[in-house]
Amino acid sequence: MANKILVVLEQRNNQIKKSSLEAISVAKDFSEKTNTTFEAVLVGGEINDFSSLGKFGLKKVTHFTNTELNFYSSKNYTKIISNFIKENYFDKIIISSTSFGRDLAPRIAIKIDAGIVVDVIEYSFDNGEFIYTRPIFAGKALLETRIIKNLQVIALRPNVFKPSDNCSGNTEVIINQISEIDSSVKTIEVKQASGKIDVAEADIIVSGGRGMKAAENFNLIENLADVLGAATGASRAVVDAGWRPHSEQVGQTGKTVSPNLYVAVGISGAIQHLAGMRSSKCIVAINKDKDAPIFQIADYGLVADAFEILPILIEEIKKLKS
C-alpha cells in the first residue's frame, strides 16, 4: 500500500487558521522528500470556498460536515479523522500544535496506534527516516527524536514554519456529511476575548514585567501593542500579582512564543521567562537596570525608564505607520 501524508486542518469561526497553512507547507515538503502524495482533512466549519488553498499546493481536501461539529469536539473529531486515516492508509499525519492540535493529535495517535511527536520546530530526512527536533524544558534544551513506528503523528509548533504560497492549481473538495454525532463531550459555547490577539499566535508581542510598577500602568503596554498590531504578554511576577491574566504569561509556566518581534518592558529576564521567548526572531528590551539578564539576549536594548520611553515610542511608531 502506498504511503500517504495527511494534513489535519483547523478552522475557527469558519476560517482556516494560519497555522494550518504552515502544516500544509510542511506536508508538501514531506511529500517531495518521500516522493508521495499529500492531502488534507477538515472537520466542521461553514466553509464553501477552499480555492485559496490551491496556491499552497494542496490538491485535495475532504471536509466532514455537520452543524454539531462547528465547535471542536474531541470525541467526534478523533473518531472521524482516525477512521479516515485507517480507510485511506495515511502514514504521516501532520497537524499544528495549537490548543486544538495538542488535544486532538494524541487521541488520534492512540486510535491508530501511531508514534507521536509534538511541538516540532525542525526536522530532517535522512536514510528514509525523519528526525524531529523539539524544545524541552521550555526551550532550555532541544531534543532530537526518531519515531520508531512508520505510522506517525507530527504536531508542529505554530509560527515556526513559513507557509509558501507559490503554487498554482485547484483544490478538489470532497464533502462528507456526518449524521451520527457523539454528545458525551460537548462544547456548548466558545467565549472569545473580543478583538484580542493571543500571545501564542502573534507576530509581535509587547510584554510587561514588574518594572511597570502597577496593574493600571499596563495601559502603556496595551497602547504600544495597539499601534504595533501586537498581542500583550506578561512575566510570571505580574501574573502572580494579579495584574494580568494567566493567558498572557510568557515563560516556563506560561506560553512559549517565537514571534518576529518581542518587546520586553520592565522585565529583568528570569531564566523561566527567557526560556519562553528566547527563540523570538528580534528582541527589544527596555529596562532601567543595565545588568538585567534580558539584555544578554536582546537584539536592541534601551537602558532607560519605561515610563519615559513608552509614550515617545508609541508616538514614533504612529509616525512611521502614517
Binding site: R107, A114, A138, V190, S247, Q252, I283, F295, Q296, V303
Partner: protein, 248 residues
Amino acid sequence: MKIAVCISHVPDTASKINIGNDGKSIDQAGLTYIINPYDEFAVEEALKTKEKFGGEVIAISLGTDSSKESLRKALAMGVDSAVLLKTDKILDSISVAKALAEAIKEINPELVFMGKQSVDYDNSIIGQLVSEILGYNSVSVVVGLSIDGNKITAEREIEGGKEIIETQIPCVITAQKGLNEPRYASLKGIMSAKKKVIEEKILAESVSYSEIIRMKKPSIKQGGRIIGTDSSAVPELVRLLHEEAKVI
C-alpha cells in the same frame, strides 16, 4: 468518589539545564526537584472535589525513587494514599500513558486529575493519551470546573478565549494555572505524610514508540546591543526595527 491524581517530579523551573555526558539526557548535577507546578493544581482540585463529595484521593507517579518526594508533598497536602510506578528509564509519552492507564484501571476512579503538562518534557499530551486508552471522557487545559452529580462542566483555555464543555464521569481533567490556588501543606499533614507507606510497583518492559537521538543546548542569541540610555534613542530604535530587522 474515587479520584486519581497523576504527579510528575521535575527540576525546579529556576534550574539551569545542561546536557549529560551521554548527550541523550539532562545533567543531574546541581538540580533540585519539585512537584510539577501544574500537578499542584491537579492535587488541589482533587482534594476540593473529595471535600465536596467524599471519597478518597490516590496519587500516582512514574519515575525513580526520588519521585517519592513529590508523592509525599501530595500526601502532605491531603492525598490519602500514593503509588510509585518505578522505572529508571526515560520513557516515551505513549509508554508513560500506557503505564499510568494500567495503574488507573486497577484503582477504577470516577475522576482523574493531572497537570496539563509536565515542565520537563513539555509534551502536554499525557492526559489525552490516558483518557483514550481508558475510554474515559476528558477535557484538557482546564481553568474552571464544576461537578454536579455525574455531570461535569469544564472551561478549557484556547488561544484568545475559552471553550465551555459539558461531559460526564468517568473523566480525565488536565489542570491549567488559574484553576485554583493550591493549598500549603499543614505541619500535621507533613508529619502524617512521613508515616504513610508509598506502594511501589516495578514497571514491566514496554515497547518504545520513539527514541531519543540526542539532546543539545539551543544556540545562544548574540544580544547585548544597547541603543541608548534615554528617550533620545527612541527614533534610532524605531529606525533599526524598520530598516535593519524589518519587523515593523
